[in-house]
């Protein structure tokens, strides 16, 4: 029997990026807040100090800061006709675990989506006609617009100290920034980071080809910064151990370096770590959440009653908890009914690896940060005419190489044997003079009727609960998109003077063993119609109004950018709605 803990105003499930933001905002409104986090508490000084933060084997290869699949994992199949099998060791994405969530070990590439991304269905239908979209594509408008989110993007960027060059301030196009971005109310809080040699060269070649390259917006500090909560971050040292690693310098924006020190000081905030929420409890009407059930690391079960529940456990864990708690109607792709698990997406990433003359080029690839790089946005979203190409969507592309860590980043020209003397020679020859951006082409993935999440009929987690099952494959639209973008990307490396350019197109079938990004999206999407969305435009559950769900699970489809800027802007937007609307009159905020 679960023991009962004292009632709180708010229980937050998961203390990652959005959990920290929501906890701060709601505690700041005077509410009594508790956050329950599955993983351990993490601090810079005790968990990833500079003395050993840079251990490639431990953190990158053995994934020490991530969730262990033994704790929970997912099953995967490409097609509805196949039997799904468990992901035994992480591959295509890497689920976070522990206080700070993905914020601890992200790159901090901090983007906004395009204004047209938020009204995607309407925009594409108006421009190209409904017949242009594939029949089984299920893209939707978000129910919120870029202009509504702008102040909240701004808040997140100032919280983080994002380093970047504005491209559009209140409609005025700024030299050196991204001319395609939506209008922003002011410049970034910090200037862009310095760019190493290879990244600079990419920018130069792109400019000569007629593009408008700009530095990637980065949550790695270009200079010391104090954020509006009074927390100070130090300058990034380009250590080259950023993505997958915690930052030993307090230089990467994370909940630890931007929110938690101020949050923990609030007397009306409490956190419980090493405790996994196993269920959101609802009353007999099924329309009101009464709190959550959790199991701590000793196996003891507790019940945490609360008036308001915020689910911020990361995309797929959000979906899984909704399914396991029976909240909202589960999606059925055959009948095309239900919403929980619907419109699940990931990303369409590809890379181009190029080899330069070692006698002329020394890139020092180990000098880099997580969000370093020069990018172009000409081929993102609907920034170009898709009419002649027969696909929709796109992505930014850039030389965003983040590291020269030798286990991961020792590229050799195609055709080199995989071992032996020739391999060794090629590694040595090319290490300093090759460029491998990693996620160079950052393409969108739109939603489809047969790409979704439900519960697996066979495999169970350690509590004997069904694992969440992912059914996902690439569709022709994304494959065409990727071919087009990858070819454009390769032209820039050619122009840089590479002597060999190797294109690694993304191809079907979707492969769960090949890392793309940890940008899972959808499954509990926001929208204007309860029959095709799980949440209203304030991230409030249509079915259980005292439940708000934050995270990229709300995205109706994924855009050609990293998600967290938008994830965080949505969290601020929802917090604002709770503070200014919901608390005065708790109940459904939208009459649909």
């Amino acid at each position: 029997m679960a023991r009962k803990l004292p009632r709180k105003d708010v229980v937050i499930i998961g203390l990652g990026w959005t959990g920290s933001i929501m906890a701060y905002e709601l505690a700041d409104a005077g509410l009594d807040v508790i956050a329950i986090e599955r993983g351990p508490w993490r601090n810079t000084a005790t968990d990833y100090p500079p003395g050993y933060a840079a251990d490639e084997l431990r953190y990158r290869i053995r994934h020490e800061l991530f969730l262990s699949p033994s704790q929970t994992t997912f099953t995967f199949r490409n097609k509805m006709s196949e039997a799904a099998l468990p992901i035994r060791s992480w591959g295509a994405f890497m689920p976070p675990n522990g206080v700070g969530g993905g914020g601890v070990h992200w790159n901090a590439e901090t983007w906004r989506f395009l204004p047209s991304d938020f009204v995607l269905k309407t925009h594409l239908t108006e421009r190209y006609g409904a017949g242009f979209l594939p029949d089984d594509m299920t893209i939707q408008d978000w129910g919120v617009t870029y202009d509504e989110l702008e102040p909240h993007y701004d808040r997140f960027e100032y919280l983080c100290g994002t380093s970047g060059q504005a491209g559009n301030i209140k409609g005025k196009i700024m030299e050196g920034g991204n001319p395609f971005e939506g209008p922003r109310s002011r410049a970034y809080p910090n200037p862009p980071q310095d760019q190493p040699f290879g990244h600079t060269l990419f920018g130069k070649a792109a400019r000569e080809l007629g593009y408008k390259p700009f530095p990637q917006p980065s949550g790695n500090m270009s200079r010391p910064y104090q954020n509006p909560l009074g927390i100070r971050l130090g300058p990034c040292t380009y250590c080259g151990f950023c993505e997958w690693f915690g930052c030993g310098n307090y230089s990467k924006a994370s909940p630890q370096t931007t929110v938690l020190p101020a949050l923990v000081r609030k007397p009306n905030f409490t956190a419980r770590d090493n405790s996994e929420v196993t269920r959101i409890n609802v009353d007999s009407s099924g329309k009101r959440a009464t709190g959550v059930t959790l199991v701590d690391a000793s196996g003891d079960e507790w019940e945490q009653p609360a008036d308001l529940v915020v689910l911020s456990a990361y995309t797929i864990f959000n979906v899984q908890l909704l399914l396991l708690s029976g909240i909202g109607k589960a999606y059925d792709p055959a009948a095309n009914t239900g919403v929980i698990g619907r419109n699940f997406t990931h990303q369409t990433i590809s890379d181009v690896v190029s080899f330069f003359d070692p006698a002329k080029f020394v890139f020092n690839p180990f000098i880099a940060s997580g969000a370093i790089g020069m990018c172009i946005d000409e081929f993102n979203g609907d920034n170009f005419d898709h009419g002649p190409h027969g696909f929709v969507g796109g992505g930014y592309m850039g030389n965003v190489q983040t590291n020269g860590r030798p286990i991961e980043t020792t590229p050799v020209p195609p055709g080199t044997p995989l071992w032996g003397a020739e391999w060794k020679k090629a590694v040595k020859e090319n290490y300093q003079s090759a460029i491998k951006p990693g996620t160079g082409v950052h393409g969108s993935m739109y939603s489809y009727r047969d790409v979704y999440v439900d519960l697996d009929p066979t495999y169970k987690d350690r509590f004997n609960r069904p694992l969440a099952r992912i059914t996902m494959d690439f569709h022709d639209n994304e494959i065409k998109q990727n071919k087009f973008l990858t070819d454009k990307f390769a032209e820039i490396f050619q122009a840089m003077g590479a002597r060999q350019v190797h294109k690694e197109y993304r191809k079907a079938p979707y492969d769960i063993t090949k890392y793309q990004t940890t940008h899972l999206c959808g499954g509990a999407i926001m929208g204007t119609d309860p029959s095709t969305s799980a949440l209203n435009r304030y991230l409030q559950s249509w079915d259980v109004p005292n439940l708000f769900v934050t995270g990229a699970s709300a995205f109706p489809q994924n855009a050609g950018y990293n998600p967290t800027g938008t994830v965080a802007a949505l969290a601020y937007w929802a917090a604002d709605a709770i503070r200014s609307k919901y608390l005065n009159n708790p109940g459904q905020l939208i009459n649909a």
């Binding site: 000084a45 199949r77 923990v264 690391a297 020394v362 004997n464």
Partner: protein, 241 residues
């Protein structure tokens, strides 16, 4: 709680450290003046996982995957076999942290490996099979006793699928080698390989220096300083006589 649930939970808890306790954080940051989990440093010494015969075969294998050349030692001197030995003795060897519950069904390539074997079991079984294969086809000689050309030939046939082992996937074993041997060559020396940072020196990787603000704007100029490991550098400690 159902018995099965309890057993699964207990099995999971065994894998977590004694530090893993749920704590309540209120009005303080649970900061301790010591690192939560400082790195463990692997030292030279007896084999911890491999038998002497297995170790002999592994040292021969790692020296073919990464052969010595005039400037840089091969996998054996670099300590790649020691690295794999220490890994197989530890959590990697027992597949700790991975999802190991059944059923174990072979799926499509893109569904990922589904084998019920642990990494330690894979090496143990495959090395025994390799030994049997060599002795029966090479006039009674073990892998380590073959000359380099014959060793390469055996490895190439395993890689291509021409040579199969009875009880274990020979190509799967070869894939594990192609992952684990370079990891031993390039990971921090604290893990038992990359002796004297030979892998890093070969390519010019400065290790964990962590601060390149002085060099980020020096475009196309080779970074001049030698590598540093988590355990420092040999020349920081005057040689003991």
């Amino acid at each position: 709680m159902q018995r099965r649930t309890f057993l699964a939970l207990a099995a999971w808890l065994v894998g977590t450290t004694s530090l893993t306790r749920a704590t309540v954080i209120h009005n303080h940051v649970p900061w301790s003046p010591h690192p939560n989990s400082p790195p463990e440093i692997e030292r030279l010494g007896p084999w911890q996982f491999f038998t002497l015969d297995e170790a002999r075969a592994m040292e021969a294998i790692v020296d073919r995957i990464i052969p010595p050349d005039a400037e840089t030692p091969g996998g054996k001197i670099a300590g790649c076999a020691v690295f794999i030995d220490r890994q197989l003795k530890g959590p990697y060897g027992s597949n700790q942290g991975l999802y190991t519950l059944g059923p174990h069904t072979k799926g499509t390539k893109q569904q990922g490996p589904q084998s019920a074997l642990t990494h330690a079991e894979l090496y143990r079984t495959a090395l025994a099979a390799l030994d049997k294969h060599c002795k029966s086809t090479q006039g009674g000689k073990s892998f380590a006793e073959l000359d380099a050309a014959a060793q390469d030939d055996v490895l190439r046939k395993i890689e291509s699928g021409e040579v199969k082992f009875d009880r274990v996937d020979a190509q799967g074993f070869f894939s594990a080698l192609l992952k684990d041997v370079p990891e031993g060559f390039f990971s921090d020396p604290i893990h038992g390989g990359n002796n004297d940072m030979v892998g890093w020196k070969m390519i010019g990787f400065p290790g964990i220096r962590y601060d390149y603000r002085d060099w980020v704007n020096r475009h196309n100029e080779r970074y001049p300083y030698p590598p540093v490991s988590i355990a420092g550098r040999a020349d920081w400690t005057p040689a003991k006589s």
